[in-house]
């Protein structure tokens, strides 16, 4: 019987029919992530076009700190691990495990943002601003948009954490967390691209 796995949050409203059998929200979100690849792809291509084209310094070769950024990259990668574990916990019905997991993602994400904030202020003190040169403009805009995405993700996760602690995130509603997870991992893979193209390939 195809009708067995019906979610009974609202007994009078079974899961609606879909042509693909996939949840509409998740499908739509993957389409959105597809569009975001074009957004970040355009930003990255702008950065690549202007790489080493600055007329005045400070230049990227002087300022980019590989060891430090390797650590922040590691932090972000670990936050993705925490995210999948958090989702797994929520899907298993563990409110405690889920809460710890989501909190861990938020903390690690905030730690990443802390590294970014440190880097930005450090560069600023070295004389690099948005207006200084092409490196300043392109670097701060590209990583700034990424950081803004991370920030939004942290806020999203905190909202979900509150929802979870109030008992509003049972396994039947885990899709909401899964969507937030997809967003979070996406932000992570954008950083993978940025770390390589901005920091490592010089």
């Amino acid at each position: 019987m195809a009708n067995t796995a019906v979610v009974h949050e609202h007994p009078h409203h079974p899961e609606p029919y879909t042509a693909t059998g996939l949840p509409t929200l998740k499908l739509g979100f993957w389409v959105f992530l597809g569009s975001e690849t074009l957004f970040f792809g355009s930003l990255i291509s702008m950065y690549m076009v202007y790489k080493h084209e600055s007329v005045v310094g400070p230049y990227s070769t002087e300022l980019l700190d590989i060891p430090l950024t390797s650590i922040s990259t590691f932090v972000l990668l670990m936050s993705s691990l925490a995210m999948v574990i958090a989702l797994d916990q929520v899907q298993q019905g563990s409110r405690r495990g889920g809460a710890i997991g989501i909190a861990a993602v938020a903390v690690l994400g905030s730690l990443f943002l802390g590294f970014q904030a440190y880097e930005f202020t450090h560069f600023y003190h070295e004389g690099l601003t948005l207006q200084t040169n092409l490196f300043g403009s392109s670097f701060f805009v590209l990583t700034g948009f990424h950081g803004a995405h991370v920030s939004l993700g942290v806020i999203w996760l905190l909202v979900l954490l509150i929802q979870l602690l109030r008992g509003g995130l049972p396994p039947g509603k885990s899709l909401q967390l899964e969507i937030a997870g997809l967003y979070w991992h996406f932000v992570d893979i954008v950083w993978i691209a940025i770390f390589t193209l901005v920091y490592l390939i010089e």
């Binding site: 009708n3 796995a5 996939l22 499908l27 792809g41 691990l81 574990i85 991992h185 490592l200």
Partner: protein, 117 residues
């Protein structure tokens, strides 16, 4: 009722989120994936510092980061285990995005270097 409707694909009412049809990665798998990602990152950073590898640095880094990218997409974002429809709606734009980056690099950096741009 849903039963009598003609199906093109299988119905999984709400099943997709909790029970992936293809397989089920456990949290141990995820930790192993996390370790692999860390190792690859360490290798990337290491290669960066090895002078002897400077010549092949760029292609190797691109390869390794692409590897990390797809590992996160296929395991953490679960695309390996989920319906291929998600993959299609994500990879089609991603393919265009990659072409955009490559195209711009060619137009602005490669062609001028060879005097034809």
């Amino acid at each position: 009722m849903a039963d009598t409707h003609a199906h093109d694909t299988q119905h999984h009412h709400g099943a997709d989120a909790a029970h992936p049809p293809g397989g089920h990665a456990t949290w141990q798998t995820y930790v192993i994936v996390g370790v692999i990602l860390t190792v690859i990152t360490a290798v990337e950073v290491g290669i960066f510092y090895i002078e002897a590898m400077a010549g092949v640095l760029v292609p190797i880094l691109l390869l390794l980061s692409a590897l990390k990218f797809f590992i996160v997409v296929f395991w953490y974002m679960h695309l390996k285990f989920d319906s291929k429809i998600y993959s299609r709606v994500f990879f089609a734009p991603l393919f265009l995005a990659t072409l955009v980056v490559i195209g711009m690099v060619i137009l602005f950096k490669v062609l001028p270097r060879y005097g034809v741009g």
